[in-house]
């Protein structure tokens, strides 16, 4: 793992979490830190997250945890914005790290996938493939975050455990080198 520069002492570390092509399970595990969240809240400013109502990814973020693979054009745009605006980017969980479940659709073409999901397996209503222009467009393949932007550290697991997230986040916000115990040095 790469060492992070010590967080600026002049202000509290600005932390963000983002949810790309994933199931939100990594964020659920983040919430599983339970009472430690209170301690964390006292140390950081959470400037962007699915659990904070912020519409636009802000500038000058110290640490961003990114859940999910990059599976559509909106994810790709978000990944680039996050990288541009964050000093330290963490692939948060197996989908961000390796594609994982999100990438299981890669054996199908986008057309086959939409046909399967919205027509062949549809129940009840008249099957229609949604085509609203405001909807994000699927990329040809779902891919891990680091295939789009440089990533500074990886948290493995589906999801990473609350203890692992706690170790990683507390190290990063305190500007310490991120060194996880051997038990967390696993793949997938």
């Amino acid at each position: 793992m790469t060492a992070i520069d010590p967080a600026p002492v002049t202000r509290r570390p600005r932390v963000a979490t983002a949810w790309l092509g994933g199931c939100s399970g990594c964020h659920m595990s983040f919430l599983d830190m339970d009472e430690r969240l209170i301690e964390l809240a006292g140390k950081i400013d959470l400037v962007y997250s699915p659990i904070a109502d912020v519409k636009v990814f802000p500038a000058d973020v110290d640490v961003t945890l990114v859940e999910g693979a990059v599976t559509n054009d909106e994810n790709e745009h978000a990944a680039r914005t996050i990288r541009r605006n964050s000093r330290f980017v963490v692939s948060f969980g197996d989908c961000a790290t390796a594609g994982n479940v999100t990438a299981m659709r890669n054996r199908f073409t986008r057309e086959e996938l939409l046909q399967l999901a919205y027509v062949d397996l549809a129940r009840g209503e008249i099957p229609t493939i949604p085509n609203d222009t405001t909807l994000a467009k699927l990329l040809v393949r779902a891919r891990p975050l680091h295939e789009f932007v440089p990533v500074d550290a990886f948290l493995h697991g589906c999801p990473p455990s609350a203890d692992e997230i706690w170790l990683a986040v507390s190290a990063l916000v305190e500007g310490r080198k991120l060194e996880l115990p051997a038990a967390y040095q696993r793949y997938g």
Binding site: A98, N100, V101, A103, C158, Q185, R186, Y187
Partner: protein, 246 residues
């Protein structure tokens, strides 16, 4: 057969000249990572994880097949070897569709364990997401080619221990795949005795028992060496129970 002396990671050791460097290293407590090797089966040097550096040679030698030479100076864990081992695991990961979190062998997988031990953080080559098939035609077992690392343990145990030779390797290079019979559905192969040895020795979740769910497959491999030793030397010795067995 003669005894030779050599140096492994600075340690002066001796061994028989018909043993492999892997065997000698392990007898002296030097651990070398392996994947295609399995105690009891013929070694084929397929996975390249056990590559060693030998002083005076520019070639890297696979420990599982290389024999010792008098005065040899061997290094098992140089930065270069560590880098190569990590690259091998990354390429194995990128060439399959492993999806560890939803695999029957999750947390009991040799590939996953190796990835951790070589310090894999992420796969730095692009994932290929190949279009691989799953063969569920056998009544008891499934072969999921998406998780196969082509170690050929299944091929060897079936041929050498069970004597059935149901499995073989078809095609070439990156298109290589394990085939049943003359590449027919597994369930149609009459030579298969349904003994399940291939399933037991498979290091990943490529071969598994029907009905196994996520993380449910734990493989047991010690029986291979036990059986082979018994046949060769008529000695029923060695461990058949493994770590974690009651």
């Amino acid at each position: 057969m003669a005894i030779v002396t050599l140096t492994i990671d600075g340690l002066a050791v001796s061994g028989r000249d018909d043993e492999t460097l892997l065997s000698i290293a392990r007898q002296h407590g030097v651990e070398i990572p392996t994947l295609c090797h399995l105690d009891g089966l013929t070694d084929v040097g397929a996975c390249r994880l056990c590559l060693l550096e030998v002083e005076g040679s520019t070639r890297l030698l696979p420990a599982c097949t290389a024999k010792p030479v008098e005065g040899m100076v061997v290094h098992t864990s140089t930065p270069k070897l560590q880098r190569y081992r990590r690259m091998i695991i990354e390429m194995l990961a990128s060439e399959g569709n492993h999806h560890c979190a939803v695999c029957v062998s999750h947390e009991h997988c040799e590939l996953q364990r190796l990835a951790g031990s070589v310090g894999l953080q992420s796969v730095r080559v692009p994932y290929l997401y190949p279009d691989k098939k799953l063969d569920a035609t056998h009544p008891l077992f499934v072969m999921d080619h998406n998780r196969c690392v082509l170690c050929t343990r299944c091929v060897r145990v079936c041929h050498e221990v069970e004597g059935a030779h149901t499995w073989d390797v078809g095609f070439r290079g990156i298109k290589s795949e394990i085939v049943a019979g003359l590449r027919v559905p597994w369930g149609d192969v009459e030579s298969c005795t349904s003994c399940g040895k291939c399933v037991s020795v498979c290091p990943t979740g490529a071969l598994f028992a029907k009905g196994a769910t996520v993380a449910a497959m734990e493989k047991r491999t010690a029986f291979v060496k036990y059986l082979v030793t018994a046949r060769r030397s008529k000695e029923w010795v060695g461990d058949i129970l493994e770590e974690g067995d009651e």
